[in-house]
């Protein structure tokens, strides 16, 4: 197995670029934005050095980046793009069209806070604002996971049962600009065996077989188009799982929908996503040394939401602390993932208590001691038998 890989230091941005190279993308259209920019730069270098044979479209905006990806994907090309924050917002309109046209585009997102005020640092406001766009959404916690997930997502997105675009997000700066050792393929052949190019299996713009894409669907048709996306996203649940298992079988690495850490003997666990999971794991170890038994849970796939796996991960817990890295203003609770989990608890009739802490907004630093502080805070609430009916804004100056 190990002769397939070389281990090199890469940031998550570079890991994303390597993944795009190793699946042999045909067209890349992207526009630079901090902290995603190095993805675009590295792909340009791959092409300039002949390591990747692709057309790179140096578009004049992210709106055009995704538009060009849509055109290229509709023509049958395997395409890739990447963005962050304002760029993702500028693409917003196109997100829904990419999925509505059922195009298997894969995009990397270096998650970043949204303006205003402008802030170039990490949180997940940009990603969470794409929630209803019908993109398969993965949040990675390591550069290796970024690389592997992007490869996996081509397999998922291009599956004829799915044909939905997919995004793989990771922390801006905290991951996008920090180096980790990553196994990358020495040769792309085994990767392409895992994600063979199959554009002939899908509808595309082909003069030999002309079709009309993007027609107008009146009230008598539109609903069925949208329902087909619902069905596709449900199918994706299974396909994401299989793609990950198959990846594991071939390459020895797999991730599942959720990951758990030392939850076997606990009443209380902390759930989060992205790079923060590592910090939470560290905090769990420190707390355990002090005799405080807590565990950690990572949500890796946000869409389709892995309700079964999460149910299994939390069903024996008395208390679940959700650390959210974005805000849904005016929500019943204001953490987007907590909101999903509240729904899950209700519909699975679990009586686990839910505590929602908002952390890391605009990359306000979250260290192990913050996590320990949150556990301390929540322990006091538990002692008093209080479950707050609102999100707690950790560390904010009111």
């Amino acid at each position: 197995m190990s002769d397939l890989w070389i281990r090199i230091p890469l940031t998550s941005n570079y890991a994303a670029a390597y993944a795009a190279k190793d699946v042999d993308v045909d067209v890349v259209a992207a526009y630079p934005i901090t902290p995603q920019t190095p993805v675009v730069e590295r792909i340009a270098e791959f092409i300039a050095n002949g390591e990747l044979d692709a057309e790179m479209i140096h578009v004049e905006s992210e709106h055009s980046a995704l538009s060009a990806c849509i055109g290229a994907s509709a023509t049958g090309a395997r395409v890739f793009t990447a963005t962050s924050a304002q760029g993702l917002e500028l693409m917003h309109e196109m997100l829904f069209i990419a999925s509505g046209l059922r195009l298997p585009i894969v995009m990397a997102i270096a998650a970043r806070a949204l303006s205003a005020p402008i802030n170039i640092w990490c949180d997940y406001s940009d990603l969470m604002a794409t929630r209803d766009s019908s993109w398969i959404t993965v949040i990675a916690s390591s550069a290796q996971e970024v690389y592997d997930s992007i490869i996996q997502m081509y397999r998922v997105a291009e599956d004829p049962e799915v044909l939905l675009p997919a995004m793989v997000a990771y922390d801006g700066f905290i991951m996008s600009h920090t180096y980790e050792p990553v196994y990358v393929a020495k040769d792309r052949a085994p990767i392409l065996e895992y994600v063979p190019k199959n554009f002939k299996n899908r509808y595309r713009l082909d003069p030999d077989n002309p079709i009309t894409m993007g027609a107008i669907a009146d009230p008598n048709w539109y609903y069925e188009f949208k329902y087909q996306q619902v069905v596709a996203m449900r199918k994706a649940y299974e396909v994401v799982k299989k793609a990950d298992e198959e990846f594991g079988k071939r390459f020895g690495r797999s991730y599942g929908f959720v990951e758990t850490y030392k939850v076997e003997d606990v009443d209380i666990a902390l759930l989060t996503y992205g790079g923060l999971y590592g910090t939470v794991q560290e905090a769990v170890d420190i707390l355990r040394e002090k005799g405080v038994k807590v565990g950690a849970i990572k949500l890796r796939v946000f869409r389709p939401f892995p309700y079964n796996e999460l149910f299994n991960a939390i069903k024996n817990l008395k208390h679940l602390v959700v650390l959210d890295r974005a805000i849904t203003f005016g929500g019943v609770i204001e953490g987007p993932v907590a909101l999903e989990i509240a729904t899950l608890l209700k519909f699975k009739s679990l009586d686990t208590n839910l505590y929602n802490y908002i952390v890391g907004i605009g990359q306000r630093t979250v260290t192990e001691s913050d996590i320990i502080g949150i556990v301390d805070h929540v322990s006091k609430l538990i002692e008093k038998n209080v479950v707050p009916m609102e999100s707690i804004y950790w560390g904010v100056r009111e």
Partner: protein
């Protein structure tokens, strides 16, 4: 630019049709005429991108389509970006042998004035600057017709639209038309032309030239709109012809940013009133208003003649 053979008469145009009848364009709408000729010239090995607008909604009511060539609509403001992606994909797939590299595939974008000169302008400029081999055809009906006749940057001076109404204080559009073909020409692309469906062979040859160049080309076609311009549907071609006969619309081409030609010379010009008085959207214009427009056109004619180096558009002769 490789010299394509040009059509001399309408009988030389291919008989094949790639835009089916039965679409929902208004009776008398000239977009159908323009696209029909365009597709005859381009032929079946053509991928078409159309932004949101009249042409798009009228020709593709699911589950029907009027298009016999591969066609895609994505959104209102991005036809040029989508076409860039299509062209890049064809290039990459052909280079990698995934699509037959010996087959020349035309990529054509056909957009309205709103989708081209206003909201789609950034994407267009990007596409031109990057040099994609795409022919962009602008059918210019001088307003947002699909949403019900609102002003665009291409709406002419003083024209009525629903957002430039004729009121007690303000009467029609306050600004002149955006000179989009010249703005495009400033990108120094291989081929830019203006065309008019009343001069069908001239228009067809411009499509042909546009498709033959190795890079972007832009054909700006005037498209009288029976509904928005307020005229009887039978007069579309007549009004189109009047546009050129009055020099309200001059048919020119610019090859390689070097050779500028007026392809339809007008030795004796008609007064602009013939064009203006034929359309309801100008009903409120006074004789004085019309004279103001005439003076503007006179200046424009002078400028064009200077560019050509001789008098290709003559004086007004009534």
């Amino acid at each position: 630019m490789s010299k394509p053979t040009l059509y001399k008469s309408i009988f030389e145009l291919p008989r094949e049709e790639y835009l089916s009848p039965g679409h929902g364009l208004c009776a008398g709408c000239l977009v159908g005429t323009i696209v029909r000729v365009l597709l005859k010239v381009a032929g079946p090995n053509t991928i078409v991108v159309t932004p949101t607008g009249c042409l798009e909604v009228s020709t593709t009511p699911f589950p029907y389509t009027a298009w016999k060539v591969p066609w895609i609509h994505v959104a209102f403001e991005n036809a040029a970006a989508v076409a860039s992606g299509v062209e890049a994909a064809v290039k990459a797939l052909q280079r990698k042998g995934l699509v037959d590299p010996s087959k020349k595939i035309n990529v054509v974008a056909i957009g309205g004035d709103g989708g081209t000169v206003d909201i789609g302008f950034q994407a267009l400029s990007g596409m031109l600057e990057r040099g994609h081999r795409v022919m962009y055809v602008l059918y210019d009906n001088e307003a947002y017709m699909n949403t019900g006749i609102q002003r665009s940057g291409a709406t002419p001076f003083k024209a009525w639209t629903t957002t430039t109404p004729v009121g007690k204080v303000l009467k029609g559009k306050l600004q002149p038309k955006k000179p989009i073909a010249e703005i495009v020409a400033a990108h120094k692309i291989p081929y830019v032309a203006t065309a008019n469906p009343a001069y069908i062979i001239d228009m067809a040859n411009k499509f042909r030239k546009g498709l033959s160049v190795d890079g972007p080309s832009f054909i700006h076609v005037i498209q009288p709109c029976t509904t928005g311009w307020r005229f009887d549907p039978r007069y579309g071609i007549k009004i189109a012809r009047l546009a050129t006969e009055t020099a309200m619309w001059i048919n020119w081409e610019l090859e390689n940013n070097e050779v500028f030609r007026v392809t339809v010379p007008v030795p004796k010009r008609k007064h602009v009133k013939h064009y203006i008085r034929a359309q309801g959207r100008f009903n409120h214009l006074t004789d004085q208003d019309i004279e103001e427009i005439q003076r503007f056109i006179d200046k424009e004619v002078e400028r064009i003649n200077k560019m050509v180096g001789k008098e290709v558009i003559g004086p007004v002769v009534e």
